[in-house]
Symmetry: C2
Subunit: 476 residues, 2 copies
Amino acid sequence: MRNVHTRRLGVHRLIMLVTMATGASAAVAGPIADAYRSQADRIIDAALTSDDAYTKLQHLCDDIGHRICGSEALDRAIEWASAELRKDGMSNVHTEPVEVIRWVRGNESCEMVAPRRQPLVMLALGKSVGTPPDGITAPVVVVADEDELEKLGDGAKGKIVLFNNPMPPYDSEKGSGYGHTVRFRTNGARLAAEKGAVACLVRSVTAHSLRTPHTGTMNYKDAPVQIPAAAVTVEDAETIDRMTKRGIEVVLNIKMDAKNHGPAMSANVVGELRGSTHPEQIVVIGGHIDSWDVGQGAHDDGGGCIMALASVKLLKDLGLQPKRTIRVVLWTGEEIGLFGGKQYAKDHADELANHVAAMESDSGAFAPKGYGVDCKDESRMKAAADQLRDIMTLMEKIGATDVSEGHGAPDVSPLQPEGVIVMGHEVEGSKYFDYHHTPADTMDKVNPLELKQNVAMMATMAYILADMPQRLGEKD
Amino acid sequence: MRNVHTRRLGVHRLIMLVTMATGASAAVAGPIADAYRSQADRIIDAALTSDDAYTKLQHLCDDIGHRICGSEALDRAIEWASAELRKDGMSNVHTEPVEVIRWVRGNESCEMVAPRRQPLVMLALGKSVGTPPDGITAPVVVVADEDELEKLGDGAKGKIVLFNNPMPPYDSEKGSGYGHTVRFRTNGARLAAEKGAVACLVRSVTAHSLRTPHTGTMNYKDAPVQIPAAAVTVEDAETIDRMTKRGIEVVLNIKMDAKNHGPAMSANVVGELRGSTHPEQIVVIGGHIDSWDVGQGAHDDGGGCIMALASVKLLKDLGLQPKRTIRVVLWTGEEIGLFGGKQYAKDHADELANHVAAMESDSGAFAPKGYGVDCKDESRMKAAADQLRDIMTLMEKIGATDVSEGHGAPDVSPLQPEGVIVMGHEVEGSKYFDYHHTPADTMDKVNPLELKQNVAMMATMAYILADMPQRLGEKD
């Protein structure tokens, strides 16, 4: 028996190492978890047996589809979400006007015209200007980064600059490498224009590609001239790189109808599950209702919006009215400039002191892992994190126990400098950037069980934060 | 020490189980391996330090690109491969005319026009007819398989039939599931036409998609009418399926310029490393030089062609002239109807008795695993398999030791009924069908080290089969 036991221990240790590598913590249940165990179990059980979230996401993805800022589809999504909140019995349902910008992609193409003709797969970047009707035809110079661009000297003048900087594969400890690599998408056009380039291409920001283009926003800032900017696939970037490294001149023709149409009106969607005792105290939950103009915006960020809608309906249906108010906010215009998040912070400046916490889910609807938490007052953040760790022990049954300090989520980030405790609803991240901003961010990538688990986590967390005696981040 | 040892054993057993699951055999070196160990080591070492195969594949993929039957690009590829064989010092280099068919895709599009407008991603299937210029506009009916189509009765009449049959994920024991799922691509148009459908769509035959369409050939056979047939992505098939399951009528417009232009001439490429003692006895190695008209045909089947070209050059450069002749054959028109393989069997009917073995690599250029072997005379196949297992012990250092009985490869399959021992060069198969017949079958998917390992395996095997005293499949 000893030997058998020891052998099992060997395997067990392997499993423990794997568990530790995924960052699962071993927090011990504290007073909050003890007080809310039965309600948490009810919420989680109900979430895991409800199809509400999946049905809602199906409508958003299949019947409305993608919904870029300024589009009719986004208007329909906003109208639909408001109607759902009303139908589900929420209070104070309304939209809050947000001035956004309207950028329209139009038709676009990219073709290698020398040394041979070959269409390439391309997506213009959000906010890019277009090309003349016949396009821009020029040779390509390939650089890996800013240093290589600098070393070109005058070599980029009159050329198309291609930033071919690979995003590393997902690493469970280091994360995605997105933050490091995305800078070429954001700044590439400005950097290339400073060197006299006529257009800028970036390798799509992803570690996995099946000839998959990834769009996303870019910024000209103080660029000397606004040149067209677009993403090509990993495959096409690598092909051009291999050919130019062999001394072959690759000439491309890029055509883009892309146009900035200036300001347009959109709206944040708001609805509340009003608190019984302290309705003026608010726990915000939500996602962003806009998406890119490709795919269905299923993970980015249909899932986040639907988790919030389904969470308040679930609590309402269970008759679980918390002491404080849970406010659903579905922000608009996140992708193209965080317009909804910034506007919310302005419009609600006078009640931010009453914002107990503001959380967003904008990392996809994969298996839930836990929460990130941030606050400009570090001692309040630490205290909040400890309370969250206590609460997360209730989520062990859905495999979500992580609490990490120092980060929130995009649309709640404008509330952080105002002293609000902001939170990011975090999920297993290995696949997110495979689909992010692509035609492949579609409903089939959302696992129905994982979506339910996300609702379980968000509804449980929102309910406890809105109901527990002490305010998050403060001592009892 | 005992405990430590036992714990290690636990982990070791896990590793053994994993190794066994991948099908690695534990053959023991026999007389052939013993006789050829030093030559095999020389060949393998040389292959692992040569960039020749990668350089050649780069030219085929980047400078020539995809090369569908009947295209100018295929003509260029044939001319280039012949020139390489001559440059590398091969004998009897020539092309052998093959009548193929010329099918041209042209422009194509698929759009959901109701209940909302949304472009879908589509690739016409090879040999499909086109649509009228304005396309075909009709509602979709979705079926999983032949039974569901049958149950529709008249329900497919005037409709577009979508076969939404998922290919299972790759399984290291069961393989890819491609063979079972591809029947809808092959037969779907005929089956749908028999039920009065106006067009046929199939879910792309793949287990992984990033909105990735997979083309491939189809056959009308005795269909009552030839209706257009195309593949849509997994994502679009699933979207239509979800919508129709909710009772929503989905109407599509399909436009396809696709046209069969009738017979055209192409050619197999042939070149030899002539044998010193029995030049009339032949070991065939090769791949198919044509590809689909998307991507670069890197794994399918640029890799196979290049392995053969690089193998004979390597042996020539090492001064290793075998007793028998190694004949490189690069078959044409495989994708659209195995034209080159069939023609070779006809043209060489009078020397097939002298074909010691005929092997093709058409499973990609991933990490090599070993060989499949087939022969209509089972006792010769068994004898050959035993000899191959002996030889494969020499390849342990590149991780390739598998020998499996009862299967060869497409272009050598017409030789099997003639009594020739046919062989398939086999590689790790988990990713092949992710890229197969797609715009993503590109050079970046080929690992340079794995390509070298494939050359090592093919060159070693070809040399030994062409040089060993006994003929493959015969007793000493």
